[in-house]
């Protein structure tokens, strides 16, 4: 059961790292794989909120690193998905409390007993980012199809390659196919042309995601959401399955079927 350690990072803030980490972890745990999430965003912790576990925090990552508790004591077990564990960040400290080698030691301790370790990286390129990628076997970069996010993603991919943690894999998050069609938003091809890395998933914009974050219920548990399906597919690809990318232009439902009938030449 030697675990693979996956770090989710982006450079830019607010593109969906925490949401993706929570959802990928939940999707893997739902397949009965033992998953430990680590929130490496010390001082600005969010992963606990998105997973709905914030009321159960007793010990955190800094307590473990500074020896105030054992590793097991800081692992919070999810009640909905019993194979899912969270090691939360500290809210009252900052990134200097933990070092890259602390993270490597911690992950080495976790590796023999679980299948996946998912690390939620903070935004930026400084100590917090270096802490998060130090133990990584696989690094996933998340970006939005938007010029400023792609700039930052390029920078972070460069740093990942320089630290010899590449090749990075890309998730394009919050894509709006209608806007891409109207040429008001970058298409996945535009993004890949600049970043030139392997694409592991495209997640469409979905209003239900905001609701899921506020409720602490990861969207992968919602069978009707396209974003949830996209995250489940990414988890499958992480496990080595070949899953075709969603046709995001497919409207689905009655309206979609009518539209396809009306289009000349048939579906």
């Amino acid at each position: 059961m030697a675990a693979k350690v996956v770090t989710v990072t982006s450079g830019k803030g607010g593109v969906g790292k925490t949401t993706a980490t929570a959802n990928l972890a939940s999707a893997l745990a739902a397949e009965n794989l033992k998953v430990v999430c680590i929130d490496a965003d010390i001082g600005l912790r969010n992963l606990d909120v998105v997973l709905g576990l914030e009321n159960r925090i007793v010990y955190d990552l800094v307590d473990v690193v500074e020896g105030r508790c054992r590793l097991r004591q800081a692992m919070i077990r999810d009640k909905r998905l019993p194979e899912l564990y969270l090691i939360p960040a500290a809210q009252t400290r900052d990134k200097s409390a933990v070092s890259p080698s602390d993270m490597v030691r911690l992950c080495d301790e976790l590796r023999p007993d679980c299948d996946w370790v998912l690390i939620d990286s903070p935004a930026g390129i400084e100590r917090g980012f270096r802490n998060a990628i130090a133990p990584a076997d696989i690094v996933i970069v998340i970006t939005n199809p938007e010029v400023s996010a792609v700039r930052d993603a390029d920078r972070i991919i460069g740093l990942i390659e320089a630290e010899e943690k590449g090749p990075a894999r890309l998730i394009i998050n919050r894509l709006k196919p209608a806007m891409v069609k109207r040429e008001e938003m970058l298409s996945p091809d535009d993004v890949l042309e600049l970043l030139a890395v392997e694409l592991i998933g495209i997640v469409p914009e979905d209003e239900n995601v905001t609701l899921s974050i506020n409720r602490g219920l990861p969207i992968v548990l919602d069978g009707k959401s396209r974003a949830g399906l996209a995250f489940r597919n990414i988890a499958a690809r992480l496990r080595g399955e070949q899953v075709p990318f969603l046709d995001l232009n497919d409207q689905g439902g009655l309206l979609g079927r009518l539209a396809r009938l009306i289009r000349p030449g048939g579906a």
């Binding site: 070092s99 890259p100 080698s101 270096r130 700039r151 390029d154 460069g158 320089a162 600049l194 030139a196």
Partner: protein, 227 residues
């Protein structure tokens, strides 16, 4: 300041300059760590400038060194090296590779602006955002130059790929310097003392060369017959 046969520490205006004597890198590194960690309380809070002479280091090794120093409360700000490979690796990690005053122990790099062919450097990869490539002679890149990256060259710049970052050719004043690219779309283009921005491109991109004509930056499609 304390003297150590292999490690010397000197306070200069920009920070604390640590010089390592030439020998095998593992020995130099071990001596450095031992010496610096013993003095950590005294050195803490200072900016460390590490002069490693001609050792060639990977980005990963530099990163590890920086992390080990920072675990002891020491912040590595700059790495001075005679090796261009180490300098580039340091720059990729965001470390400074020059300080304002030349160091007394090492001779300053040659100030010659020779534009002869031997002074060219060839880089075979895409330059990602944040990467800065600086060279006293000509620069040739086989790959793209992404927005947010920059090339500063004393001579010409040739990009066999898409040029979408910032370039400065003839950076030391050479007005005959040129910039060539398969897709010339830089965020900003400078030749000697002139700066130009790219007008919005219409249609497909063509290989182009930019140079100074009567003091203005002019970009022309590559037309071998027309010269």
């Amino acid at each position: 300041m304390e003297e150590h046969p292999k490690v010397q520490i000197k306070g200069i205006r920009e920070g604390l300059l640590i010089t390592l004597e030439e020998e095998s890198w593992p020995d130099a590194r071990a001596a450095l760590l031992e010496h610096v960690i013993n003095q950590a309380d005294f050195l803490r809070g200072g900016r460390l400038i590490l002069d490693i002479g001609n050792h060639v280091l990977h980005a990963a090794e530099l990163g590890q060194l920086r992390d080990m120093l920072s675990e002891n409360g020491l912040s590595l700000w700059a790495v001075l090296s005679g090796s261009p490979v180490t300098q580039q690796n340091a720059q990729t990690l965001g470390l400074a590779t020059r300080i304002t005053k030349p160091t007394p122990e090492r001779t300053a790099p040659s100030q010659e602006t020779a534009l002869s062919g031997e002074q060219a450097v060839l880089v075979r990869r895409t330059l990602r955002s944040g990467f800065s490539l600086q060279h006293i002679g000509h620069v040739i890149v086989i790959g793209d130059v992404n927005p947010g990256s920059e090339i500063v060259a004393g001579g010409d710049i040739v990009v066999w790929g898409r040029l979408r970052g910032m370039v400065h050719a003839g950076a030391q004043g050479e007005e005959a310097a040129v910039v060539c690219a398969l897709d010339l779309s830089p965020t900003q283009l400078r030749i000697a003392g002139q700066i130009a921005v790219t007008p919005k491109r219409r249609g497909r991109s063509l290989p182009e060369m930019a140079r100074l004509i009567d003091g203005q930056v002019v970009a022309e499609p590559w037309n071998p017959k027309g010269k």
